[in-house]
Amino acid sequence: MTIASAMTFHPRPEAGEATPWAFPAPTRSVLPNGLTVLRCDRPGQKLVAVQLLLDAPLADEPAGLDGVATILARAFNEGTATLTAEEFAGELERAGATLDAHADHMVLTLSLDVPASRLERGLRLLADAVSTPALPADEIERLVANRLDEIVHELANPSRRAAFALYGELFPADDRISRPRAGTADTVKGIDRAAVADFYAAHVRPATATAVIVGDFSAVDFDAVLADTLGAWTGTPAEPSTAAPVTADDSGRVIIVDRPGSVQTQVLIGRVGPDRHDDTWAAQVLGTYCLGGTLTSRLDRVLREEKGYTYGVRAFAQPLRSAADGSGRAMLAISGSVDTESTAPALADTWTILRDLAAGGLTDEERDIAVQNLVGVAPLRYETAGAVCSTLADQVEQGLPDDYQAQVYRRLAETDTAEATAAVVAAFPPDRLVTVLVGDAAAIAGPLKDLGIGEVTVVSA
């Protein structure tokens, strides 16, 4: 073997000239049946994404029937006036489509993905599902049984278990938000066809619904297809629902959900804070990214890349319930898992990072890199129709203007280091964080008491 010469090194290249890019602007219209439609033509996007948002908030579920919205969402896939459940599933698949539905605090969303060449077939099936669902008693009975099976799996999953515990801790017990979105065993077992049909009748109508449709529309006469499918759905008028304000108890404390034998501890640290209606949202996004948005953010720089305690820890903000009057809130959280023996050291480091951040603030370099990333990735992030559709649907759900995301990019670029620091320090005050740990209590509880992050309570899983 010959000794090869080493490679020739070159200086790091400079960027070329950027091609202007803007978040796509949708066209908004209202069909004669009252359905609001946001459409966004994206030439070349061969998979069309559709989200249909129904004004069926979880807070409106009848007392003791948590989960009825979820069962309704799943029942939309179980047949129509003209198709049995199996026939409906077959027709969807024959169109190369998928139809998923889930119920969240603000809206019940049906999501259709379909090749552009079969958009009409996909929209027809979606329209039939939402306007003439069969809601067959036997399939609903099965969906309830399957949901009960699913709960057992959720409770065995450390990250789901942590989320349930945190929501239960933060929010008042009489706020629906404190309880699992899809219901608990106690509530789900009481759900039957009548309950699902009542919830459907009370909350599903075109007048309070919005369809967001994104993709390549060149293969169809869009308006004609829309009029003939979702436009043919009928229903009584109604006022849109209003969201109650969100309140939370974020006094610092630690809850250990005991999971004996765990080789890792699932960590979820959270509280509530401003949502997208707040003027500080962009600054909070920026500061939160600097804290824990990626592998080179402050948390992972220490917990992963220096100490090796974790595969990765992230900080994020997730809107919960939003209202135009600003009474809504977002969940602000730090999440990850660490090996059992590193639990206390990892939490100690986390609080050191938070205290250092409050004392010293972010650097200009951190701010600049974060802005370059958050703004720069937009064309990548919104390459597909599905990604554009999801963001537009989030805006509708949260009562935001259609150009909101475009404005966020402008606001991010304008946010300076001091504003980003102020927002993230306000978002994660070291003494106002609720820490949930799902792990082996006997192995991790002892040293936590000395960390000064709040009283420690152990609950059994």
Binding site: A156, S262, S337
Partner: protein, 452 residues
């Protein structure tokens, strides 16, 4: 008209080039969005690892993000993200890939970064970085496999499907003991053996000027020396199952429900039979109109999920992956019997025309989904170039699936979806009082208990 024939994915313009040092380059231009993907496949995966060093390919993938001659520490991540790009790397049985999606005007930076670590990683690699990433990977293993219910099912089934000594016997994550044993010399040797331009394919896809891009590739990668020290993997096509080899395992563990999982040996990726197998598994176990769902979930109500999917492998038999979780108190025996009945019926009768049409439409949508991003396209081009020698196969891949006949689908099922051709793993939850006993034991002892 809406109900026209399936949309075709034909027509991506693809060009191929080879540098003097052996680096193969694939370019595909598309100006729909101002983004471009850089994807680099090294022809090395866990199948190349040797006994006692499982997990080394994946651990090494992590080390590729720890800096190189011109890039300090985490600079690779910082520079790409600071340029508005996204990036990652993954390791499978058969290959290791690294990819960046960039705003189009930043694509040169990604090429410079990939070239720097291909040519000079060893100047930056040290024991501190190795020890740190070893701890990170061990936590990745805990998070994804050891701390979740059924988390080790994949490696247990693979280990049965491909017996001891087979290059696919162990999975890419490796064992804790082997991760602990890996030395700096191992990592250096691994790099010198496998990380060479003539053992890699580079794809650049998206809003690019192909001529300019090729000039940059030549500039940054062209001087990296090639070498021929690669040790090819052991043969994986032949699976020698000696009589008495263990083909089933029953676990009593802290899991939420009973489960039946199985791995079938199926035709290698790249063959027409693999496409037929993909269709068979889609019809049997993908989606709510599939046979398993109709029978087990809808009709018998014995399962809450019942999926069947294809893990395509090119250097060994592909794996048909069956996963059923029981509903309520249903017995595994009943689920297993129903599955075998459905398999026997399918092997005898084959799919209906409607079933075949649905499965082809589903596979078409999945394919469109994968090719919808420049990153997805770049990865597929690398896959066809590395595993099958020709990136242009991408343009015909979907047509080949749509060309498969019902009889071929039936035949592949009849031949391969048999009880003799599978490894089976079943789970039984611990009874309440057993769970309390197990809770008193420490984590190290838990494995022995459940395997007893």
């Amino acid at each position: 008209m809406a109900d026209q024939a399936p949309s075709s994915t034909n027509g991506f313009v693809i060009s191929e080039h080879t540098l003097a040092n052996g680096l193969r380059v694939v370019l595909s231009e598309d100006h729909l969005t101002p983004v471009a993907a850089v994807c680099l496949w090294y022809d090395v995966g866990s199948r190349h690892e040797v006994a006692g060093r499982t997990g080394l390919a994946h651990l090494f993938e992590h080390l590729m993000f720890q800096g190189s001659a011109s890039v300090p520490g985490n600079g690779h991540f910082e520079l790409v993200q600071g340029a508005g790009g996204s990036l990652n790397g993954t390791t499978s049985f058969e290959r290791t890939n690294y990819f960046e999606t960039m705003p189009a005007h930043q694509v040169e930076l990604a090429l410079w970064l990939e070239a720097d670590r291909m040519g000079s990683l060893l100047t930056a690699l040290d024991l501190t970085g190795l020890d740190n990433q070893r701890a990170v990977v061990k936590n990745e293993r805990r998070q994804r496999y050891d701390n979740v219910p059924y988390g080790t099912a994949f490696e247990r089934l693979v280990a049965m499907a491909f017996p001891e000594g087979h290059p696919y016997h162990h999975t890419p994550i490796g064992s804790m003991a082997d991760l602990d044993a890996a030395t700096l010399a191992d990592a250096q040797d691994f790099f010198r053996t496998y990380y060479a331009p003539n053992n890699a394919v580079l794809a650049v896809v998206g809003d690019i000027d192909p001529e300019q891009t090729l000039a940059w590739v030549e500039k940054y990668f062209g001087s990296i020396p090639s070498h021929d020290g690669k040790r090819p993997p052991r043969d994986g096509v032949a699976v020698d199952r000696s009589a008495g080899a263990r083909m089933s395992e029953h676990l009593v563990e802290e899991v939420p429900s009973r489960a039946l999982m199985a791995a079938y040996l199926l035709p290698q990726d790249g063959t027409r039979e693999a496409d037929a197998a993909d269709l068979a598994l889609t019809i049997l176990g993908s989606g709510e109109s599939s046979r398993f769902y109709s029978r087990l979930v809808r009709r018998d109500r014995s399962a809450v999920t019942a999926g069947f999917g294809l893990l395509r492998l090119s250097g060994a038999p592909s794996l048909g992956w069956l996963d059923a979780k029981t509903s309520g108190e249903s017995a595994i025996e009943d689920v297993a019997a129903a599955i075998d009945e459905e398999l026997a019926r399918f092997a005898a009768e084959g799919p209906t025309p409607e079933e075949l049409e649905r499965a082809q439409a589903q596979i078409e949508r999945e394919w469109l989904d994968r090719l919808d991003t420049v990153g997805g396209r770049a990865d597929e081009l690398c896959r066809y170039a590395v595993l099958f020698g020709d990136p242009k196969l991408l343009n015909r891949a979907l047509d080949k699936v749509l060309d498969v006949t019902a009889e071929e689908v039936r035949a592949v099922a009849a031949r391969h979806l048999t009880p003799e051709n599978r490894a089976v793993l079943t789970y039984e939850p611990l009874a309440e009082d057993e769970a309390e006993d197990a809770a008193d034991n420490d984590a190290e002892n838990a494995d022995e208990d459940v395997n007893a």
